[in-house]
Symmetry: C2
Subunit: 310 residues, 2 copies
């Protein structure tokens, strides 16, 4: 890939969490001490940043991963997912012994519950000192999550200093240094659960106002089937209804929302359009099984938005 | 390994189930739809035949595996377990796409429950036509389980025709052809649960009598902490108390009992001594974590039996 007219190599650069999800399908989630036969299994790529980058690429953005990968089978699986989706993993940091997050997900085929066992062993998130500042400045948008707060904060500082927007997907705020990272986020997109936990406000519009801060460009609070609330510089929260679709599998919908938002931010769309596009991408994803396998393409999202329905 | 004075290459030859067990340790077994962090994970070899053969080898027998293995990472893991334990896997049948059983075991660190999700995909058990009869006749004892009933039955016929004893570990009897296999078993060692299910007799001594058949040499019904019942040609069931130990992990104890029994059968021990040795091996295993990692050596079992206590 070469640099575009503005000198950028990529549209969206992510440094954070990548995961390998093993889904085990069982007739019913069992009680403790039971022995149950797995009907089928599936291995999928996942992770906040991993799925967001795959979504951005599927939606037409030039996406790249500059987080940490190891030399194990799971790291190779993540690279394969990136390669198939067209995400450039060449700026990734290689460190022996590093691993993606490994999740075992028990899917109840009757009740559709998903019970998740996640293993963070060897998973560090962003490297504190990598990638080089030049790599960070080569992307229109920097995408951060809460995995590797020190490295995320450094990268966000580099982006901010270069006038490049930082889009964040964060689910937890108890890590040391998290507040400094949050201060550097231009586009904060969080779930209603996180927003309520952090602000004490059950009302998502109110929570969005609490999450506003100096230097912020946008706050979005996602509420699943109840749509989302967006807040821009005008200070007036606005509601985006969810697109009414028949949901088959909502795994990864939040990550897809984030990736889609970052992808169209890189294209220069305004806040309302970004949120509408992201909501449409997440809705189409929800109709299909698989976190990454179900991500729609840009033409699919645009056709959906033009029709206003499936 | 060369042939011994009687022309045998091995003491115990097994054809059945091998497994790769991934143990995920969690603070508490969660309700459906929860998301829980795995504190640590461990990969262990397992399976009825796999663990029995490793036990037989650890206890001094020349053990060999002539079941089916594939070309995947899990098959290589099983081979590594066999190699480390000194089980000869050279007679194994190689078939692309074949796999060991894969189990994910959620271990509750507080309650010590073990919830098992097992995946039989690609796991066939014994091959219908392999190994060659000459391989089967090269072992003093043939060890069978209920995985691959057709191949087990063929192998048991070859062993019987050569006057070689067949030791069986079976947990299920609903497979087509199972009755023909059962008729060929000389040494039937089953759990109390299987015995009760099959015979309708809750009393293990009575169940042992029901399980006796023409051509049988021994029936043993294992009852965990309540010891076991043995039945030989005299027709009088006798009780073997369990050795009183402080159990840390009973995973694989049944398989170890079977492997130990087969190992000392090959050495020519009588029924009472075989059952006593197997019970001691299982008791020592119960004191240590890990299905295969916790298997004692022959000197350890003999010292334990000589002392009569830990």
């Amino acid at each position: 890939m070469g640099r575009d007219a503005d000198g950028f190599l990529w549209d969206v650069l992510g440094l954070g969490c990548v995961a390998v999800d093993d889904l085990l399908y069982v007739p019913a989630y069992p009680p403790a001490d039971a022995k149950v036969r797995v009907r089928r299994r599936e291995r999928q790529g996942g992770g906040l940043t991993g799925t967001a980058l795959v979504a951005a690429a599927r939606l037409g953005a030039r996406a790249a991963f500059a987080g940490v990968l190891g030399d194990d089978e799971d790291s190779r699986f993540v690279e394969d997912c990136f390669r198939r989706a067209g995400v450039d993993a060449s700026p990734a940091v290689r460190r022996p012994g590093a691993r993606p997050i490994r999740s075992t997900i028990i899917v109840d085929e009757a009740d559709h519950t998903r019970t998740i066992f996640f293993d963070l062993t060897g998973s560090t998130g962003a490297d504190p000192d990598a990638p080089p500042a030049e790599v960070i400045r080569s992307s229109r948008v920097l995408f951060v999550d809460h995995y590797g707060v020190e490295g995320m904060t450094r990268a966000a500082r580099v982006a901010r200093a270069a006038g490049l927007p930082v889009v964040a997907d964060v689910e937890r705020d108890e890590y040391p240094g998290f507040e400094a990272l949050l201060d550097l986020v231009d586009h904060l997109i969080v779930s209603r659960a996180f927003a309520a936990r952090r602000t004490g406000a059950d009302d998502p519009a109110e929570a969005a106002r609490f999450l506003w801060a100096a230097g912020r460009s946008a706050v979005v609070v996602t509420c699943g089937a109840e749509g989302c609330w967006r807040l821009g510089a005008d200070g007036v929260p606005a509601h985006q209804p969810a697109f009414p679709v028949s949901a088959a599998d909502t795994t990864g919908c939040g990550d897809v929302f984030h990736g889609a938002y970052a992808a169209v931010l890189a294209r220069g769309l305004g806040l309302m359009e970004r949120v509408r596009f992201a909501a449409a991408a997440a809705a189409l994803k929800a109709m299909r099984p698989g976190a990454q396998a179900g991500i729609p393409t840009r033409p699919e999202v645009e056709a959906f938005l033009a029709r206003g329905t499936v």
